[in-house]
Amino acid sequence: MSHAEDSIIVCRCEDVTLGEIRKAIREGAVTLDEVKRITRAGMGPCQGRTCRLLVAGEIARFCGKHVSGILQSKYRPPVKPVKMGDLAALELTPLSEPGHGQQSGASPECTCGKAVNGR
């Protein structure tokens, strides 16, 4: 592996290089989650949209497997960074009370809580 190859950026959000990814894999990280936790690849603003496939490809090559055989990491919400204050401002409405807390912006004819054909 050449030095030039080692310094290729794989995760642009977190500035993780191919050398760092390959080192983590050689040291035993063989799932996307393991590589992510050790290197932070996939933990930035794009949440792995760019590097996920590249990291999976590196693991697959190292393990001699097909990419589909590499354990995927979960796509937990939120899928992009959100301000804590914005989330905190959200008043959660219990779902057991259909219609309660409905916002004025919602369609006035929405069929919440009614039978499928009952509009």
């Binding site: 990419v67 779902l95 409905q102």
Partner: protein, 376 residues
């Protein structure tokens, strides 16, 4: 919390056609998009389409987008929420979390259609983080939406339809296209697009890829080389190109985050671009009430995305009890026939193979479900 009968994530060709079809049966639709405009990628597609748009080929994508936007805005049953990003789908409650210009909101739909399209694939080469390395989508946005040229001279990586069309559009905009390189032994896109490039004197190098990009603060040049049968570069075949832009059109992969979050069964099908959901002939995934259409269901074209969107919109209206049986089966057949015709060409063989593989797994899944029910 907002409630709606049908939430559609993505106002591209698939999502909009689904919205119009469902709303034509009185379904109350909430159509979501992170952009403020309707049409998704169509708004930057200044080239003419081959597929049919209401039986008329030769329409430009940007014209189709305008037409669809007018129809959506005129429809009282569709509420378009632009500049709104979906942050997640919470399976236990069936709720979408939205980031709107007015703040964070929650949306609970009776049915959900995921029409989120695709994301671009990146490739690894030294210098791939230099300013001047663009995805083909970004170049199209810069030129065709904002009227800005990305640079003076470009190397295009990838000869699929996107690579060929964007190369041609850059040439039209006065950008010198130094070369198009393609790792495969053959050109990926339609011959008609490739011929337009070749007539301009632009070389297309098959079995070639980029070795490296170089430059101090931005791209100042690129080196390409030939690949052997094991996809390794052959020393001695390097060519140096003076370019300030490197454009990547190295493929798309379905964007299915919300389907993963919904617990839909997913499968990796290379012909469809990567992980895709299993779905039935109504475009419904294995997560009940959650549908998929367009590139999120497998990378194809806007014409098939529109037909899939119509099929999904029809099936959703039917599932809500708003379409009579006979009308549903007739219109469903029309949609399936249109899809079959759009996929009849020789370039669609791989897509058909991928779809057959997906359906086989869907069939296995359904049989396993039936056995479980019989036993219990």
């Amino acid at each position: 919390m907002i409630r709606t009968e049908l939430a559609i994530v993505g106002a591209g060709p698939a999502g909009v056609c689904a919205a119009l079809e469902a709303a034509s049966y009185g379904v109350k639709v909430t159509l979501l998009d992170r952009e403020q405009w309707i049409g998704g990628q169509l708004v930057k597609q200044t080239h003419k389409f081959f597929g049919w748009y209401e039986k008329s080929a030769g329409t430009r994508g940007v014209v189709i987008a305008k037409d669809l936007a007018v129809k959506v805005k005129a429809n009282p049953d569709i509420r378009f929420m632009g500049s709104t990003e979906v942050l997640g789908y919470y399976q236990a409650d069936g709720v979408l979390l939205l980031e709107t210009p007015q703040g964070i909101q929650t949306l609970k739909p009776e049915r959900l259609l995921v029409a989120t399209g695709a994301s671009e694939k990146m490739i690894l080469f030294p210098g791939n983080d230099l300013p001047g390395v663009y995805g083909a989508g970004a170049v199209q946005t810069l030129m065709n939406v904002h009227g800005v040229r990305p640079g003076k001279s470009v190397l295009m990586i990838g000869s699929g339809n996107i690579g060929l069309i964007v190369s041609y559009q850059m040439a039209q905009a006065g950008v010198k296209v130094a070369a198009v390189v393609e790792a495969l032994p053959h050109i990926g896109g339609y011959a008609v697009h490739a011929s337009k490039i070749r007539r301009l004197g632009i070389p297309i190098y098959t079995r070639h890829t980029i070795k490296e990009a170089y430059g101090t603060d931005c791209v100042e040049g690129a080196v390409i080389w030939q690949l052997d049968d094991d996809w390794q570069g052959i020393p001695g075949t390097e060519k140096q190109l003076d370019v300030d832009v490197i454009c990547l059109a190295t493929g798309l992969t379905p964007l299915c985050e919300f389907l993963w979050q919904a617990g839909a069964e997913m499968t990796d099908i290379p012909e469809l671009g990567g992980f895709v959901p299993l779905y039935d002939e109504h475009m419904e995934t294995t997560a009940k009430g959650i549908y998929v259409a367009g590139d999120a269901a497998g990378i194809e074209e806007a014409s098939t995305a529109m037909a899939e969107g119509r099929l999904a919109g029809l099936a959703i209206a039917y599932s809500l009890g708003k379409v009579p049986d006979h009308e549903f089966s007739r219109k469903r057949q029309d949609c399936l026939k249109e899809l079959a015709e759009l996929r009849a060409g020789p370039t669609s063989q791989a897509i058909l193979k991928g779809l057959a593989a997906m359906r086989e797994q869907m069939g296995k899944q359904a049989r396993a479900q039936t056995r479980k029910k019989v036993r219990s």
